[in-house]
Symmetry: C2
Subunit: 210 residues, 2 copies
């Protein structure tokens, strides 16, 4: 079809084929050596804890380098069960660390969380939520992310409206991050289902750092 520049108003914004979350099947991927290039350059300061009704969001400040570019940490929030599903198995929770660079590019670092020992930082977040505290906390992100992150890198979208595309995903699955049954039950009874349905991959490249 030839483009008609005199009928530009009829060009539809035919988006929607690079959405998140996705199912990741490692059998379909070639593993790469090396680590996901997510390097926090500071502690992350959590400034304000917000009840988003479907999750807890903590706005904050921090610096990171992501695949060669400087990004600012903006906020962290939680989903349960996990939104991304790796090899058919959802994790108990998924933490989303949302980063933005100078021109507004978004990079979300997703941490897969399994059920296991209680997480002390997550307990602080629960306790603050229950007590209505909103003052800042200095949060050592290295407690949650090791220096050698393994997992997946692909291009997708926000998982809540406006579902904006062009979002870079760094899905880390070697975090050793756990929450215990009480923490999980607290979150789930408070927020119920808060994970988006899986979206089609549509031939997108997924880099796997194993």
């Amino acid at each position: 079809m030839m483009l008609n520049y005199n009928r530009q108003k009829n060009w539809t914004n035919n988006f929607g084929n690079q959405q998140s979350p996705i199912m990741i099947n490692t059998h379909d991927l070639k593993p790469k050596k090396g680590n996901l290039a997510f390097k926090p350059k500071s502690h992350y300061v959590l400034i304000r804890e917000v009840d988003e009704l479907t999750t807890i969001k903590l706005t904050g400040r921090g610096k990171a380098n992501i695949f060669g570019r400087p990004f600012d940490f903006k906020q962290v929030h939680f989903h349960s069960q996990s939104e991304h599903v790796i090899d058919g198995k959802p994790a108990a929770m998924e933490v989303h660390l949302v980063h933005e660079n100078k021109i507004g590019q978004l990079a979300v670092v997703a941490l897969m969380v399994n059920e296991g020992p209680a997480n002390p930082e997550f307990q602080q977040i629960i306790d603050r939520f229950e007590s209505g505290m909103i003052d800042w906390v200095d949060f050592d992100i290295t407690n949650w992310v090791s220096s050698e992150s393994k997992g997946f890198h692909y291009l997708g979208s926000l998982t809540t409206p406006p579902l904006q595309e062009g979002v870079e995903w760094i899905v880390i699955n070697n975090t050793m991050l756990t929450v215990d049954g009480d923490q999980l039950n607290w979150f789930r009874s408070k927020f119920h289902k808060d994970y988006r349905a899986l979206q089609p991959r549509n031939g997108r490249v997924i880099e796997w750092y194993k």
Copy 2:
């Protein structure tokens, strides 16, 4: 509004507020020192010349580093008049060098072209088009881009359908690149109007490397 995870199918993909091209008013911007970080790492090989009916597209190969990340050159095409408008004044033409990285992120390097002396490479492109030649050409991109690129960096979209967002724009306005009146007339009589209407900036950051 509280998100309803049981009605996910009704979430609209409410895109369309980061579209390209845009009007760039330097009076609204704070200049930065330094150069646009676009660094070709090879000659660009032009493989195949395609009549797109609204423009000429040349598919190709090449390597570049763009703001700290490796990208592959994919294709170059032309618009006349320019799509981006700087300080109210469109340029005679705009060259789009389309780059893509490993996970499919797109970066378009736009070269603003003024009317002046004839451009020998563009003349080769015209001659090849007229004679129907489709064999490859080794194209020294450094003839078109200086080592110290000045201009603008912002986040936008493709300017033709599917109008995909998340596209990184590097708009270079110090190219010294010109085409003469004959070349311009040839292109315009062949392809007529092929520039998209200006899109709202919607508060986006535009970095200006002056």
